[in-house]
Amino acid sequence: MAFDSLKSRQNRRELKWGLIFITPWIIGFLIFNLYPTLASFYYSFTDKALVRPPEFVGFDNYVKLFTRDTLFFKAIRNTLYMVVVSVPLGIIIAFLTALLLNMKIRGQSVFRTIYYLPTVVPAVAGTLLWLWILNPQFGIMNQALETIGLRSPAWFGSPQWSKPALIMMGLWGVGASTVLYLAALQGVPQELYEAATLDGAGWIQRTLKITVPMVSPVTLFIAITSIIGTFQLFTQAYIIGGTGGGASGAPRESLLFYAIYLYRQGFVYLKMGYASAMAWILFIIIMVVTLVLLRSSARYVYYES
């Protein structure tokens, strides 16, 4: 009896303090997450501009986006291109570089540092550097290509080559995923390889049949985070597009990605209701993609039990 009341007093004490400790987060959640999420949902059904009070317009914004806005579809196409090409390429190269850096050789830690270092470079500085390396006239890349007699593309100056150039630039920062794979590789039991070698499996077979399935949880994680990241791709394209303040998506709107177009609608044209509708479509796309990947993952992701 006495013990029970003591216990319930302790419980009440912990509840009280628990709530006190998380109070700052609760306030922050209400102000910085819940309120703006609900507000943008509401704005997406209005013609909200910065100073004007919002007027309800029903589904107009959504209807217009899907029926009359050709640039919206261009932005979606450009973004999907990056999701479909850049994300898988990044995963494959991250995996291969992780295998490379996992080899027992001298100077391993030095190599790991070199491969990882580009991820530390701020996006703005990195983008400006690549703009210079890939400069159509004076860039070292084209000078090198010309020396060996290859055609030199205009890279960020050409709508055909701007996305490949952006992908190449992104691969320079692949080290962020490589570390995750490296950590996962430490967890693969060596006995599996030894057993497979005894059974006569070669390197390629061992990699495909043991390593790939064993690191698949990391692959899933990288896939989800980089797809989300790609849907929000902004900084690099904004800088390459020039700084006329227009989020231009230049050259010729080949880099007009979803987040760039959203920014343009919201903060250049100040059509905040319209931009809010875009934001909610993005939110739904991200949620659906994540859920589908997580749900279907049971079939191809291996979890040790």
Binding site: P24, P36, I114, A125, L129, W132, F138, T243, G244, S276
Partner: protein
């Protein structure tokens, strides 16, 4: 019988030699690949620094030179005066320090509530904390911008700093993971001695949490140094720009002075690299344990 044993021995030696040879070849091949690809990763850094030290005429000379004919260290002096470089750097550091302070406080408090105390509904609320990570910035940025605009805070540092003082998922998660490794006996003993929860947080837990605090400081630095979209939205006043915004001024001029731009970029990259080497272990561990960058 004896002959068979003899032959098998000979065969073994012969294959042993060729095996060793193959191993050496394989080893050399490995080095060639790892160094070859490694130099692709390293070259842009080299080119960044070398360009920053050349004359304007030399960077557009054909064929290009690898090393500067004359080492123009004065490019650095020019770069930091062409734009108010140190002002932007000061702004960025100021934002970083205030964000880091707020995050250390608010996130460790919340993490304490989510790990050292037991209360009904705790895990549901914690799930909500993690769920906020799914929310794209694009969804919240428009209403928040309107809110800050009404409060007359656009142009000031406040919109960039304020959220950190109210805790956010990533760092709450990191602190919580760390706190869970602290033996419960420590807090139980302090409670029996009559310690209040805030005192346990301040005098028992936080002194032990130095590695987590260090990791948080590193992450906050990298995020602040990197952040572009939020400063672009909120810092309309040029005097308050961060480095990331300020660097773009080189691009908006009609003719880009690439050598100065590369000098300024180098100056922006160096602190990030230095801090990375300084806290390499903390940083990599943070990335590996939370799985986020």
């Amino acid at each position: 019988m004896g002959t068979t044993a003899e032959t098998s021995k000979v065969t073994r030696t012969a294959s042993g030699v060729s095996y060793a040879n193959r191993k050496t070849l394989e080893q050399i091949f490995k080095y060639i690949i790892i160094i070859g690809i490694g130099s692709l990763f390293a070259f842009p850094f080299l080119w960044l620094v070398l360009t920053s030290l050349k004359s304007p005429a030399e960077i557009i000379s054909m064929p290009p030179t690898l090393f500067p004919q004359e080492w123009h260290w004065d490019n650095y002096a020019k770069a930091v005066t062409a734009i108010p470089f140190f002002r932007y750097m000061g702004n960025t550091v100021f934002i970083f320090v205030l964000k880091a302070l707020g995050a250390i406080l608010s996130c460790s408090l919340a993490a304490y509530g989510f790990s050292m105390l037991r209360w009904p509904g705790r895990d549901v609320v914690f799930f909500l904390v993690l769920a906020t990570m799914m929310l794209p910035f694009q969804v919240t940025m428009i209403p928040l911008y309107i809110l800050y605009d009404r409060l007359d805070l656009i142009g000031t540092f406040t919109p960039l700093i304020l959220p950190s003082w109210f805790g956010y998922a990533f760092s709450i998660f990191m602190f919580r993971q760390f706190f869970r490794t602290i033996p419960r006996e420590l807090t139980e003993a302090a409670r029996i001695d009559g310690c209040s929860e805030p005192r346990i947080w301040a005098q028992v837990i936080m002194p032990l949490a130095k590695p987590a605090i260090a990791a948080l400081i590193l992450f906050e630095f990298m995020w602040t140094w990197n952040d572009f979209l939020a400063p672009l939205l909120y810092l309309s006043k040029e005097a308050n720009w961060t480095l990331a915004l300020g660097l773009l001024q080189f691009r908006s001029q009609r003719e880009t002075n690439w050598e100065l731009l590369m000098a300024a970029s180098t100056l922006m990259v160096v602190p990030a690299i230095v801090l990375y080497f300084f806290g390499q272990k903390t940083f990599i561990q943070g990335v590996a344990t939370t799985g986020f960058k």
